[in-house]
Symmetry: C2
Subunit: 75 residues, 2 copies
């Protein structure tokens, strides 16, 4: 099964990459962009879907400062 | 409008983070995982959806080595 994990900085946690994007866009001529967050995307094939939650907790995300969302991808 | 951009290393481009995950998982007791790719996730509010493609080309992704996929998120 193909799975996709979306990992985002938690609400209230500093997001320097998001800040950098917000500041850079107007200089490039893009306006009307706000609320930018930059996170990570992990895509993987797993045999046992039930392990995904534990993988996120132990390796893929840092649960102290990141939230994650697991999606299954139909292939 | 809330948009989500999924950015992945292009096919054939080295993905050291994905390799690291593949190697680390068995040591943590997770087996049957393959084909792991680590990319970036950008979520943003945009007023003008038609600008997203250009933003990806110019700032959010590096089109030489990365593919990107734009999704709209219903809020």
């Amino acid at each position: 099964m193909r799975a996709r994990v979306l990992i985002r900085p938690k609400e209230g946690i500093l997001d320097p990459q998001g800040e950098a994007v917000v500041r850079a866009l107007p200089a490039l001529g893009f306006n009307g962009v706000s609320n930018v967050h930059v996170g990570r995307l992990v895509e993987l094939d797993v045999e046992d879907e039930s392990q995904l939650e534990a993988m996120c907790q132990k390796l893929l995300a840092n649960p102290l400062v990141e939230d994650y969302e697991i999606q299954t991808v139909s292939s």
